[in-house]
Amino acid sequence: MTGSSGSARGFSLGASRLPAALAVACWTVLGLSAAELSILPTTVRLHSPHARQQLLAQVASDGVQRDRTGDAVWISDNPEVASVDAGGVVRPVSDGLAVIRAKADGLEAALELSVTGSGDKFSWGFRRHVIPVLTKKGCNSGACHGALAGKNGLKLTLRGYDPAADYDSLTREATARRVSLADPASSLFLLKPTMTIPHGGGKRIAVDSLEYQVLSEWIASGASGLREDDPTVVGLEVSPREATLEPGSSQRLVVQAKYSDGSLADISRWARYSSTDAGVAEVSDEGVVTMVGRGEAAITVAYETSVLYARLTVPYENEISEEDFSRLTVRNYIDELVLDKLRKLRIAPSAPADDSAFLRRAYLDAIGVLPNAGEVEDFLADTSPDKRRDLVDSLLDRPEYADYWAYKWSDLLLVSTNSDHLNRTALWDFYNWVRDGVARNKSWDRFVQDIFASSGSSRENGALNYFVLHKDTIELAENTTQAFMGLTLTCARCHNHPLEKWTQVQYYRFANLFARIGIKTGDEPGDSVIFTKAFGDVPHPRTGRPLPPTPLEGRELALDSLDDRKLHLARWLTSEDNPYFARNIVSRIWAGFFARGLVEPPDDLRATNPASNEELFDALAKDFVDSGYNVKHLIRRIMNSGTYQLSSTPNAANQRDDRYYSKYQVKRLPAEVILDAMSSITGRESGFDGYPEGIRAIQLPDVQVESQFLESFGRPPRLVCDFEERSDDPSVSQALHVINGETLNGKLRADGNNIASMLKLGLSDRRILDHLFLSAFSRFPTESEQETMLGELREARAGQGSGRSRQLARREAVEDLTWALLTTREFLFNH
């Protein structure tokens, strides 16, 4: 057992005045390690006569946990202070400290807790109790009364994001029948959800439930509204936070809310749960998880606007030896953290990739081109032990590095004339700024500051075309969080984000940072001048009033502050206070090297989208920040890791792993890279209208360039900032196009192409075969491939007599062989 329960171990019975958790370890010999019982959560405080707390009895042995809550014997040492029932639920009796003990499997554990306010007068609060009941029961969901137009006359705010409005709707609007203080039991608020009278939404609440008790007692006690000093939720704790479980076992989750007044409450009953991988774990409405498969699942817990998750694991059944794990050479922290995860899940890494696999992969991932035949032969022949490291260094210095990564960042920044906002001049200014930054390895924070911390002419600073592209304030705000923070705020434009912690208020505080960016036409076509306006606000749509401009988790500016809002944003955006900034770009860079991102999709950093290896993600982000936001540094780190250098060939114990980096997962090459590789191997360039001869597809500054091939193979339109705008899905028209279309066929049959040169030079079949394999696959043919294909080539010439027809037959055969190579998965995929 790890994580939050660590503090529960040890003996400190009654010694501390703080409520302390205690665990009595009973060292039995069970397999390799001792079994241990602990009580969760480790901190329990009961603040009112109505407080309840579910406790968990967790037994850990052999690295596996079992939830023994239901079978444990529960005893209160101080029944005059707190009672505990057979299910582990504690209730207050009088103020003081109490020790609760659990006994299970011959083990024993104790937990000290405090009781205060047990004699206070208690009443249910609207914000703290009523709204959560309505949310849990779905009353204020989008399908019911939370819909924008409400339902059957009752309109609530979605998931209770505006309690004041909800209070009005329930108590003041239309008739007094919804909530009747005079005759509480006749309130529609109680009659409807219990189906005592017809209710379109069916029966949501049982009359004998705690939920009914909350609603009815709230009305009976006067249906009090919101109070200024209502405590608000400041955080959640879930127990267990992390656990390795047995297949088929169940685990109850306990969720505590921490309030602004320092109080703590068990809200497990009213939290909402979901599993990120239903093939591994299922979770009930009550927060009981059942492990239905093997692997790791995150259980998302949401309450009001807070979210967090518990990570539950059932290792695979594989028998893996230390030797198996040692196949992954530990070269840096990436490998250590990947191995930690693989050990935990019992997944064996693949063998290291051979030189030609590594070479091809490194070229494609770092610079988007294939090594030529000579480069392959040189590398394979090189005996230096550092040749892989040296290769990485040399690749990062090549001009193709700048072309390739400038293209990627142009995808990110939507550099394109596609949207009509940029003309050719502006497009080139924008693109040249991107490429120059990449070529000089400008640190990522400087790169982004070029956009946000400057103003003036877009001809002088091409980065400013960002504002020409996104003129609308709302679009600008949303695109900025997506591109530079990996967050989609759009939902919060109209209501609190349903999957996230962002509120509508935060949204409009954030949007107001962009309200004073002015733009005017410059001196020449393609020139725009970006300046700071003295006035202008984005009002909150409900109140019509603007809110103080505030970065999402940063310091607010007063509405009347004279500070430049854009500069304020720029400082926060690129600072270490903004954790999303580094994580966003780290995630995008990582996704350029592995088929699967640390999170999926790689531009979705919301808290409810956990990373497949959170520790690895954290470490990479820290490394990146420590390096001064140095992109090449991070790329070096990744490419030099043992993890990146694993083979893509799976073994029996990692075949199904697609997210823990136990192997290099194959991925289709980007459209532009395929086209350029076809050009370089055939020696026939593509040619793009309006661009100089010889320009490669990956060097194009724009996506508004006619190309059936690129279109068909998934070039992104660069219209919205979305990682998945680029598609690598295969399609029938792609296949038809390479089989019958002009792009590849034209290159193959062109006069004076590489095929013609090889034949003219009088190369033997064998040399031609070697050359083509080296160029397309970065390897020599295997013996059997050689034998088969040489036989085929011979046969293709057979019976052709001599002279011209024989020559023609040979040329056609080489064309066909090249075609076959350039349409295989081995060519079209990086592996």
Partner: protein, 459 residues
């Protein structure tokens, strides 16, 4: 990336407990293969109606004026009723424009919906998106075309793709909005098979469907064999979903190339000169004829775009001044073009007893302003317009909905485009609660909750 759904309950802002979506890759952890999973899901989502209904959707790009086509206002002043007169049809009480004399003889076979409206911006793409996807593609969320959804849920029926689009995707029509003709978040592999050619030209053939002249069949076969030989030697791709998919697209491409059915379906030479004339020797007419052939060969959904854009060509977009069309274009060109193609389609499907199993909708993206503008044309009017539906169980000879005296607004039974989409899904046996994996794995029902089919069509 492609995703499939699985049981994972999560709450979303427009639903209660709902299914969430996983990446297909994780499904393999369940030991569940793709086809089985697709089948399982399809079994749950697709109701067995006893017969397969296919759909032909004719997109009348530009936006026909309802006042000059299917919702005439002869009593209105001249600046409203315009230059065209109504004529009687073979159904007493139903009149349509004189520009459709052939259609008038078949009014018993189609229904008119005169109360169409939408509330979105009066730009072409809004109506295109609404009619083909049921929604507006906003906020980076690109909704899939009905035909792509069909392919996603039901797969192909034989050698031919499930969704074919003729002749080309709608191009720019002003504003930067997609025309709603792709698979959107279902992924490119569910995009329609787009013809990208003009079937009315003399040497028409499907681009890239057949090898170029310089590539004899022997070499195509040799390439195919060699590719297979080289591909076999590397086993590491077998565990990759994407790599397997690539292989299957090559397989489908070769199927299409070698399928007698496919080749025949796309070959208009198989039709008599008389038939080809009857449909009209133009891009739209021959596309409609091709649509009929494709449906006969097993294609589930055919979309026909009557025009590719609204600029520099006579279309339904009669603003009255260049680069748009004059109102006279209806009588001279566009009216006859539609009349011939639509009527021939109805006639042929009736003759072949296929009308019951083929649903046709002919629709434009909005209506036109009731009052004729100073240029003598009419501008965009999404407040009210008319569309035509036939076949697939639709009761012909009826008019559903009406507009006020000047055709300015629906008077009764307004119909939103999303209701047409719901109608199609419903009649094809697809539950409206069926969910699709949208952006960020957010599950979305195929139409917005609460949107109902136009049941009157089948009364």
């Amino acid at each position: 990336m492609f995703r499939l759904d699985a049981d994972k309950t999560v709450e979303f802002c427009d639903g209660l407990r709902r299914r969430d979506f996983l990446h297909a890759g994780s499904l393999s952890l369940l030991g569940l293969g793709m086809p089985e999973f697709l089948q399982m899901r399809a079994e749950g989502a697709v109701r067995d109606t006893g017969k397969d209904i296919n759909v032909i959707m004719l997109m009348l790009v530009g936006g026909p004026s309802h006042l000059d086509t299917f919702d005439m206002k002869p009593e209105a002043p001249i600046e409203i009723r315009g230059p065209h007169s109504p004529i009687k049809t073979n159904v007493p009480g139903i009149e349509i424009s004189e520009i459709f004399p052939r259609m008038a003889r078949h009014a018993d076979k189609y229904a008119l919906l005169r109360g169409c409206y939408h509330n979105a911006a009066a730009v072409h793409a809004m109506g295109h998106q609404l009619f083909q996807t049921g929604r507006l593609s906003l906020g980076g969320m690109e909704h899939p075309h009905i035909g792509s959804v069909l392919g996603y849920l039901k797969g192909a029926n034989g050698d031919l793709p499930s969704h074919v689009l003729l002749p080309k995707i709608i191009g720019p029509t002003g504003g930067n909005f997609k025309p709603g003709q792709g698979a959107g978040y279902l992924g490119k592999r569910h995009d329609p098979f787009v013809l990208n050619a003009d079937p009315s030209v003399a040497d028409f053939e499907v681009p890239d469907m057949l090898p170029p002249d310089y590539l004899p069949a022997l070499r195509v076969d040799r390439r195919r064999d060699w590719r297979a030989m080289l591909d076999r030697t590397v086993s590491k791709f077998e565990t990759s979903q994407d790599a397997r998919l690539l292989d299957s697209t090559f397989h489908q491409a070769y199927t299409l190339m070698t399928s007698e059915t496919a080749r025949e379906a796309f070959d208009l030479q198989g039709e008599s000169e008389e038939t080809r004339d009857r449909y009209g020797r133009n891009r739209f007419g021959q596309s409609c004829l091709l649509a009929r052939r494709l449906v006969e060969a097993g294609v589930r959904f055919v979309t026909v775009n009557m025009f590719e854009t609204v600029f520099d060509e006579i279309t339904w977009d009669i603003h009255g001044s260049p680069p748009f069309s004059p109102i006279s274009g209806y009588r001279d060109l566009v009216g006859p073009m539609f009349d011939n193609a639509f009527t021939s389609l109805i006639e042929d499907l009736t003759d072949r007893r296929m009308l019951d199993s083929t649903m046709i909708f002919a629709l434009g993206e909005f209506g036109r302003t009731p009052v004729i503008n100073p240029a003598g044309g009419r501008d965009h009017w999404p407040q009210a317009w008319s569309i035509v539906g036939a076949g697939g169980g639709i009761q012909g000879g009826q008019v559903i909905g009406s507009t006020d005296k000047i055709g300015g607004a629906p008077k009764d039974r307004p119909v939103h485009p999303s209701e047409i989409v719901a109608t199609i899904y419903h009649q094809l046996g697809i539950g409206l609660e069926t969910e699709l994996p949208a952006a960020n794995g957010r599950p979305l029902p195929i139409v917005d909750r609460g949107v109902e089919p136009v049941h009157e069509l089948f009364a």
